[in-house]
C-alpha cells in the first residue's frame, strides 16, 4: 500500500527534487545523495518513499531518478506545484481513504485506515502523525480543508 511517510515534509520534497535535478542532472545513486546532502537514512528515506509514491521520482535498486512529473514540479510556480501534489495524493494513503469518507474526524479516519489495512498510523503517535500529514500535504495542496471537528475534502 502506498502511503505518505509520517516524516515526509513538503520542504524535503522541494529539496530532494531540486538537488536531483540541479546537482545530479536528474539521476544518481541513493548513497551519493546521502553523502552529498550529509543526511542519514532517517532523514532521507521518508521523502524518497513519499516522492516515489507520488510519482515525482523513480526509486529502485539503490538508484533514484527524477520523473517527468518531478521535472514539471520544479519548473512550476507555487500554484501549479500545489495542483501537482493534489492530483498525485488521491491515489495514496491516507488520502485515498480520506477522499472516500469526504468529511471525517482524525479518529474516524484512523479507524477506517486500520480497517483498510494501513498500519502506518497504528501506533501511539499515530493520531498526531496523521494530523500533521493531513495538514502538511492535504491542506497545503488544497485537497482538504479544516472543519470544526476534523477535515473535509474540497470539491
Amino acid at each position: 500500500m502506498d502511503v505518505i511517510d509520517p516524516n515526509a515534509r513538503i520542504a524535503d520534497l522541494v529539496g530532494l527534487l531540486y538537488v536531483l535535478s540541479n546537482i545530479f542532472d536528474g539521476k544518481t545513486d541513493l548513497y551519493r545523495l546521502e553523502k552529498e546532502m550529509e543526511v542519514d537514512i532517517d532523514d532521507l528515506m521518508p521523502i524518497v518513499y513519499t516522492a516515489s509514491n507520488l510519482g515525482l521520482v523513480n526509486a529502485e535498486s539503490g538508484d533514484i531518478s527524477i520523473a517527468e512529473k518531478g521535472i514539471e514540479y520544479i519548473k512550476s510556480g507555487m500554484f501549479q506545484r500545489k495542483n501537482i501534489i493534489k492530483s498525485s495524493l488521491t491515489k495514496i494513503e491516507p488520502f485515498n481513504t480520506a477522499i472516500s469518507m469526504n468529511s471525517f474526524s482524525i479518529d474516524d479516519l484512523l479507524d477506517r485506515l486500520k480497517e483498510n489495512g494501513v498500519q502506518t498510523f497504528n501506533n501511539p503517535d499515530g493520531s498526531h502523525d496523521l494530523e500533521v500529514i493531513l495538514i502538511e500535504w492535504g491542506m497545503y495542496s488544497k485537497l482538504l480543508k479544516k472543519t470544526d471537528d476534523g477535515f473535509e475534502v474540497i470539491s
Binding site: 529539496g15 546532502m37 532523514d43 495538514i135 497545503y140 488544497k142 479544516k146
Partner: protein
C-alpha cells in the same frame, strides 16, 4: 543631470551601515569600522567564523542594538530603532504558540492604523503569498517546521518591509529540508509582488551563501571588520558541484585563511 544621478544612487542603496563600531558592556570590542551597502534587488550575505558577531551585526543593522559610533541608514534616513520596514527573521522559528497563523501574521500590523477587517484581509494575502491559504485558523503546534517558518515570513511580509534581515534561517534544519526551504523562500522573496527590495542574510554555511547571494561580505579578525566583499555573478540555479561554484568556494576559504606571513 548630475543631481539626478546622485539621487538615483541614494535610492539604489536601501540599507547602509557607515563606519560602525560596537563593544559589549564589558568593554570587549566586537566591531571596528564596518561598512555595508545593500542595494535594490540584491541578496546580501555576511559570512565569518563562529563567534565573530554575525548575529550582533544583523541586530545593529536592524536598529535593535545601538552602535558605539557610526550610522545605519534606511533609504538615506538614519535608523535609530527597530522598524517594521526592516524585518528580522530568526534562526529559530519564532511563532507565537497561543495565536493562530492568522493572528501571528496580524501581529505585525497591530501598531498600524488599520481596521480589524483590513488586517484580516492583509493577513490572508500574506499567508497565501507563502503558500498557506486555508491555514488561517491553524495553530503553530499543528504545523511542521517548514510551515511555521512560512508563517514567520508571512508575518514579516505583512508589515510591507523593504529589507529582510535573516539570521541563519536554515541552520537548525537538516540539509534536505534546508535546501527545499531555501529554494521556496528565495522564490517567495523575489516574486516581485512585494515592496521588498533587499535581503541581508548572515550564515556560516558557505555553500548556502554561494547558492543564494549576489554579494558576500566577509567578516573576520578581532575586533571584526569587513575583510572582503565579493560579487557573485554565477547564473541561477547554481550547481554546487560545478567548477565555477567550487572556485568561488575556494576563494571564500581564501579570505577566511589569510597567508601565514600576514599573521
Amino acid at each position: 543631470m548630475e543631481a539626478k544621478l546622485k539621487n538615483e544612487s541614494v535610492n539604489r542603496v536601501i540599507l547602509e551601515a557607515e563606519h560602525i563600531d560596537f563593544s559589549y558592556d564589558n568593554g570587549y570590542k566586537v566591531f571596528e569600522n564596518i561598512n555595508i551597502e545593500a542595494e535594490t534587488g540584491k541578496f546580501i550575505a555576511i559570512i565569518g567564523p563562529s563567534g565573530i558577531g554575525k548575529s550582533t551585526l544583523l541586530r545593529i543593522l536592524g536598529g535593535f542594538l545601538k552602535p558605539d559610533s557610526g550610522k545605519i541608514k534606511l533609504m538615506g534616513k538614519q535608523l535609530y530603532e527597530p522598524t517594521p520596514e526592516v524585518a528580522l527573521i530568526h534562526q529559530s522559528i519564532v511563532t507565537f504558540p497561543w495565536m493562530t497563523a492568522e493572528e501571528n501574521v496580524m501581529l505585525s500590523m497591530k501598531t498600524k492604523n488599520m481596521s480589524r477587517n483590513e488586517m484580516v484581509e492583509k493577513a490572508k494575502v500574506s499567508l497565501s503569498r507563502v503558500g498557506l491559504e486555508g491555514f488561517e485558523d491553524l495553530y503553530p503546534k499543528e504545523m511542521s517546521g517548514g510551515m511555521r517558518q512560512r508563517v514567520a515570513i508571512a508575518r514579516a511580509f505583512a508589515a510591507n518591509p523593504h529589507v529582510f534581515l535573516m539570521d541563519e534561517p536554515f541552520a537548525h534544519l537538516d540539509e534536505l529540508t534546508a535546501e527545499g526551504l531555501r529554494q521556496d523562500i528565495y522564490n517567495i522573496l523575489f516574486s516581485g509582488e512585494t515592496p521588498l527590495k533587499s535581503v541581508i542574510m548572515v550564515s556560516h554555511n558557505l555553500t548556502e551563501v554561494l547558492e543564494l547571494a549576489d554579494e558576500i561580505y566577509i567578516l573576520n579578525n578581532i575586533p571584526a571588520s569587513i575583510i572582503g566583499r565579493v560579487e557573485v555573478t554565477m547564473q541561477r540555479p547554481r550547481n554546487p558541484r560545478s567548477d565555477e561554484f567550487n572556485s568561488n568556494l575556494d576563494m571564500l576559504y581564501g579570505y577566511l585563511t589569510p597567508p601565514r606571513n600576514k599573521r
